[in-house]
Symmetry: C2
């Protein structure tokens, strides 16, 4: 492989995703040095204590010292930060005595992609940015949720790769190879539609389920007693963090609204079939839903 031997990776945001990347990129030798930026002082102290990165630095030092920058912040923040990073690359290019071409790369790991690629579409250094989405995670967040092996065997999506410089794409592909992820290539708007259906709606259904049950079951002991494995797994995502999900729903608003409408329509069909005592219709709905068996382990 043509991977650089002395790669410094700078990770902005040392939460579940950024922190887990930091662990495996260092352990598996992709990065010779991993530095991190963490705006939240509590999270920064935790990341330092856990030893997620070689050093916690400020944003300027991270831009200066990193060959590859990973934006692992909530998507609302990333949309603002990404043009600033490319601007910073540009000023470094200008400052360079030999005016050598910029070889730094920036990637993001956010769950929506269209707003990001749109934010830098006309940027002269657009090619240094690679838009990605590793499909991995847990319902926990923060540096203490970071873990080795989080990405192993999962899929990562690389969006609009034709807009990125080939060497930048290659660097990012190498990174994901190190994390044992399958690559999938898509355009950003297609990505946002698909994740609305497969990921974002799952979170909304879990949040709504938690709200429904909490509303009814004022006696929390009953929930605990009666919650079998089925309920726990269905409601698990309702533990997910607002800082991450508020901007996702906002950025992917139109797709998410569309999928919510489809979902409410399906739920309405269940309601109607049950209300009508139409057992054949309930059976058909369940058997249609069972087709998911063929796809999901």
């Amino acid at each position: 492989m043509e991977q650089k031997r002395n790669m410094t990776v700078g990770i902005v945001g040392l939460g579940l995703i950024g922190g887990s990347m930091a662990i495996d990129l260092a352990r598996r030798g992709f990065a010779s040095r991993v530095i991190g930026v963490e705006a939240d002082p509590v999270n920064a102290a935790a990341a330092e204590k856990i030893g997620l990165v070689d050093r916690i630095v400020d944003f300027d030092d991270c831009m200066e010292q990193s060959d590859l920058i990973v934006l692992a912040v909530p998507v609302g923040t990333a949309v603002k930060m990404l043009p600033e990073v490319l601007d910073r690359f540009r000023s470094m290019e200008d400052d360079s005595p030999s005016a050598r071409k910029m070889k730094k790369t920036v990637m993001d790991v956010c769950s929506t992609k269209e707003a990001l690629v749109r934010a830098v579409h006309y940027h002269p250094l657009r090619g240094r940015y690679v838009a990605t989405h590793p499909m991995a995670g847990t319902e926990y967040s923060g540096p203490w949720a970071a873990m080795p092996g989080l990405f192993d065997g999962r899929a990562c999506i690389i969006c609009d790769s034709q807009e990125s410089a080939p060497d930048a794409v290659r660097t990012v592909e190498n990174l994901y190879d190190t994390l044992n992820m399958r690559h999938i290539y898509m355009n950003a708007s297609g990505h946002d539609v698909h994740v609305a259906y497969v990921s974002h709606i799952s979170h909304i259904t879990s949040f709504a389920l938690a709200l429904t049950v909490l509303d009814k079951e004022k006696n929390e002991k009953h929930i605990f007693d009666l919650a079998s494995g089925g309920f726990s797994s269905t409601v698990r995502l309702a533990k997910s963090n607002a800082d991450m999900w508020v901007p996702i729903f906002s950025q992917n608003r139109d797709n998410v609204l569309q999928v919510i409408d489809t979902y409410i329509e399906k739920m309405g069909r269940f309601r109607e079939a049950i209300a009508d005592d139409d057992e054949a219709a309930v059976r058909t709905l369940i058997e249609d839903a069972n087709r998911i068996k063929r796809i999901i382990r």
Copy 2:
């Protein structure tokens, strides 16, 4: 313990629940003999091959030979079968030369309880029936889904136990002790309300999610590629069996409709907050839902 040494347990329905009980009741010495009834010839052959029970018998032999009968069939079937079992007990009592008191016990393991207790409310042998619901399961069904340890550490609900003979309740409590289950006592109608909220709605939200995603994602490969752990766990219950769930929704119709309505209302609030770009409202909904963390592991 005062448990009978030579207890024969007869299990009607050798699916996931009945089959798993058969395994542990024999292995852990609660039953000296476990016999089973299985109406479906394919399932009967599988149960025989796996060796779930000592012998597969017909319904009459099971009634005759068993000290404790476990109805582990879908609730619609159990509602018809339970009065027949008590009638059979009665005719055996009459046939007995010494007219000794009936000591056989019948219990069910269904997910709704009110229709069952109502079906035998005035039966002269009502006391021989114990209404129970072990809160355990997987999304798989049939004898091949049976496994040891399925019930360990979970809760079992015993309903309207004051209507059952004390020795019958004790036998059933001993059975659940053998399965390492915590006992919870409730009345049948309270049970049905609680499980609508904590269990039945989880299944409906999963079914609706599967239908939504399958509807949109005609390209099944995309679902597979993009499904991260979050989607899989949320949609897992959508694999559940129609034979089991159609009668549950039918028996628990009013409670299920009420919880669907609450759920649709919560989903509507999400929709509105996202449509209005009201990030503060989305955040409040998520943070309210996050309270489920305190209750569920």
